[in-house]
């Protein structure tokens, strides 16, 4: 085991390498490309076995990934943002095939307008497709989660593809110290892929297809996929406990940071949650009773754990790095759904939207959210959803709009 500085992208590539993947269908996109480049380099130099093939689109890439997984080989792929959306049709399809493989998504905001930086609208768009989702907050977690993801995907109680999500820039291009597990230890943990009935082979005539079905059988197959995903909760607990025992790193389905006695909690996903951790430390220095909950699993949604961890708190601030147009923060809505009707549910669950397109969330903003929460808890009135956006930012936009307006006038003169 060695500790070395790795980017989130190279950590993802290490995960794939240590899992002994056989096949990597690939299509590059910023900020994911380094994953593909790293794997291609290793395969080219012979440091890693397996095949890497570049496809002409993400749609084909996911088709190839699902197709290859039905032959019983271990498959890895990676994408981001528009690429994930371009593959959307096939995400639903291959999940329906119940073919296990691991897809890394490097989160990046969606067009339009275009951004290269991270937010979670891309991964949220894939929320309902049947892929399980593990969200990472550090480069170490990216590597570890990739190993966990193979165990989860290939488990006979689950048998579904898994997405490991990491934030563009904040993890993808950021180096942190990462412990790379020894190859044999990693191989021992992940084990061999037993494809069971998925063993499509050339020269062995057998057809593998899906039929056009009416609503009743269709319902059966769809609901079975849902049940398999839900099984992922207990399977994840089991394998993450085994991972912790083997490697000494614990990655529970929900990270609970300084939550024991906390009256107030931040809830958020992904790497920005480590900023919340820092804010929790500073707020505690200032006498606050506050903590952080960070779901690692978004699908299946660890409702039970969240309910237990949220029970009896005075106030909760859900910070969504995504925005469902016409509704609001996705995680906020999901959390409310999990809490409704439970007697111990916190009286105030406030919604904040922040970090869209990689927009920073400052320490002061975390402090201010805590203040807002306390006020809300004291008065019993939940504040309306708040976009983290300052008057200065609005002034800046107004300036740009004035320039654009002027240009348009000139154009139409």
């Amino acid at each position: 085991m060695s500790r070395t500085l790795l980017t989130g992208n190279v950590s993802a590539a290490w995960g794939a390498r240590l899992a002994g993947v056989d096949y990597v269908p690939a299509f590059p996109i910023t900020p994911q490309t380094e994953i593909i480049e790293t794997l291609a380099g290793w395969i080219d130099s012979g440091e890693m076995a397996g095949r890497l093939v570049t496809l002409e689109s993400e749609h084909s890439m996911i088709t190839a990934a699902g197709g290859a997984a039905t032959t019983g080989v271990r498959v890895f792929s990676a994408t981001s943002s528009q690429g994930l959306l371009y593959a959307m049709e096939m995400l639903y399809t291959v999940a329906g095939w119940r073919t296990p493989f691991v897809l890394v998504n490097v989160s990046r905001g969606l067009s339009a307008p275009i951004t290269l930086e991270s937010d979670h609208n891309d991964i949220m768009a894939a929320r309902d497709c049947g892929f399980l989702q593990i969200h990472c907050a550090s480069c170490q977690e990216v590597l570890d989660s990739t190993l966990l993801a193979y165990r989860l995907a290939e488990d006979t109680r689950v048998r579904l593809p898994v997405i490991v999500n990491l934030d563009g820039f904040y993890l993808s291009f950021t180096r942190e110290p990462v412990e790379i597990p020894a190859a044999d230890a990693a191989a021992g943990f992940v084990g061999d892929f037993d494809p069971q009935n998925a063993r499509f082979r050339a020269s062995t005539p057998e057809s593998q297809a899906v039929a056009v079905l009416g609503g009743s059988p269709y319902s059966y197959f769809r609901y079975e996929t849902h049940l398999a995903s839900l099984n992922g909760l207990s399977v994840y607990d089991e394998i993450s406990a085994e991972f912790s025992a083997t490697f000494g790193r614990n990655h529970p389905a929900v990270e609970a940071y300084r939550t024991g006695d906390a009256d107030y909690l931040f809830v958020m996903l992904g790497s920005f949650a480590t900023k919340a951790r820092e804010a929790v430390d500073r707020l505690r220095d200032a006498g606050w009773s506050i903590g952080l909950l960070r779901p690692r699993l978004l699908r299946p949604f660890p409702e039970e754990s969240l309910r237990r961890l949220l029970a009896g708190r005075r106030g909760v601030a859900v910070i969504d790095q995504n925005l469902s147009m016409g509704k609001g923060g996705v995680l906020h809505g999901e959390l409310l759904g999990a809490l409704y009707g439970h007697p111990q549910a916190p009286p105030v669950v406030a919604s904040f939207i922040g970090g869209l397109g990689g927009r920073d969330i400052s320490a002061e903003e975390f402090y201010e959210m805590a203040q807002t929460l306390r006020q809300a808890a004291d008065t019993g009135r939940t504040p309306p959803p708040r976009l983290l956006y300052t008057r200065d930012e609005l002034r800046e936009i107004r300036k740009l709009q004035a320039v654009a307006h002027q240009e348009r006038e000139e154009l139409h003169r």
């Binding site: 820039f169 480590t274 820092e278 220095d285």
Partner: protein, 312 residues
């Protein structure tokens, strides 16, 4: 925690600088986070990279808003607001500028109270390949300014980070970086670790409630004529198509029609002329030309061969 920002232009090795310094801290037993930040533009555009180093695990992320040290590799960036060089600079921030001007000139010009240190910039050189390795030089100076990195550790970090580049390149970087390290001797330890903003007294974020604007104002569309010429996509190129006019049979349409960027113009004699300011180097013209009259050459090589040394 040490919070350090490197500012330069794409191609000046700011990512390398941050990685060398990051590695050096790491080798000295620090927890480290280093990362580059850039947009869609490539070579020549302002970019920055940053390093955080601490004795405990680092939870802070992203852009450093209150730096302890800001290193500027290219002094033409200082007055460019969009480059963000001066953002978050306080009385205790050390500013290190690679420049031909002296410290007091900068102090006066910028009207800042914190320490300004200059790194004597070397003169411009004709051949791009001879440009000094400014990224490593900046990292070397920064390593001395923090005062917790040994000379040997710096050398080790450079060897690790540049290992793919060959002995000659490593030696020249080592030489420059160690020289910068030595020059900064008098300022060793000048840069001190900063602390996190306290939650007791802090500047309240001035949040705005976004008003509704009609689509005419709030749609992110650009209406302008022919502004794509302003974007020199030629900077993206790694391969350059070069027409061998002795083989070109002036078919007049194949390459110019297939070029997805409209970067090939044909004059009245049917002679194709490639606009290198905008050719992205996709090599489609190379593949399509029937008599194989367009050759793909390495952009780096082509630039080196251009005697003027200017970026095409």
């Amino acid at each position: 925690m040490y919070r350090i920002r490197f500012h330069g232009r794409g191609g000046q090795g700011m990512k390398t600088a941050s990685r060398i310094l990051g590695s050096a801290f790491f080798l000295e037993g620090f927890e480290v986070q280093d990362a580059p930040r850039y947009g869609a533009e490539r070579r020549g555009a302002p970019i920055f990279a940053y390093v955080r180093a601490a004795r405990a695990a680092i939870n802070e992320r992203g852009i450093i808003s209150r730096p302890d040290l800001v290193v500027v590799a290219d002094d033409t960036l200082v007055p460019v607001p969009a480059s963000g060089v001066l953002s978050g600079i306080g009385a205790r921030t050390v500013l290190l500028i690679n420049t031909t001007q002296n410290t007091s000139a900068w102090q006066q010009r910028l009207n800042i109270s914190g320490p300004v240190i200059t790194l004597p910039a070397s003169a411009e050189v004709e051949d791009r390949a001879d440009l000094p390795y400014i990224g490593a030089t900046c990292a070397g100076a920064a390593a001395r300014l923090v005062g917790v990195i040994a000379r040997d550790t710096l050398a080790g970090a450079i060897r690790t980070e540049l290992s793919a580049l060959g002995a000659g390149v490593i030696d020249r970087n080592l030489e420059n970086a160690l020289q910068a390290y030595d020059i900064m001797q008098a300022h060793s330890g000048l840069v001190r670790e900063g602390s996190m903003t306290s939650a007791i007294k802090y500047a309240h974020p001035d949040w705005a409630d976004l008003p509704f604007d009609t689509a005419r104002i709030s749609a992110p569309t650009v209406f302008a004529t022919a502004n794509s010429v302003e974007v020199r996509t030629g900077l993206w190129r790694t391969l350059r198509p070069v027409v061998d006019y002795s083989r070109c049979n002036h078919c007049w349409w194949v390459c110019s029609t297939f070029c997805p960027d409209g970067a090939i113009a044909v004059d009245t004699d049917g002679k194709p002329v490639i606009d290198y300011d905008h050719c992205k180097g996709c090599m489609i013209c190379v593949a399509q030309c029937p008599p194989h009259a367009i050759e793909a050459v390495s952009e780096e090589q082509a630039q080196r061969d251009t005697t003027t040394g200017e970026t095409p």
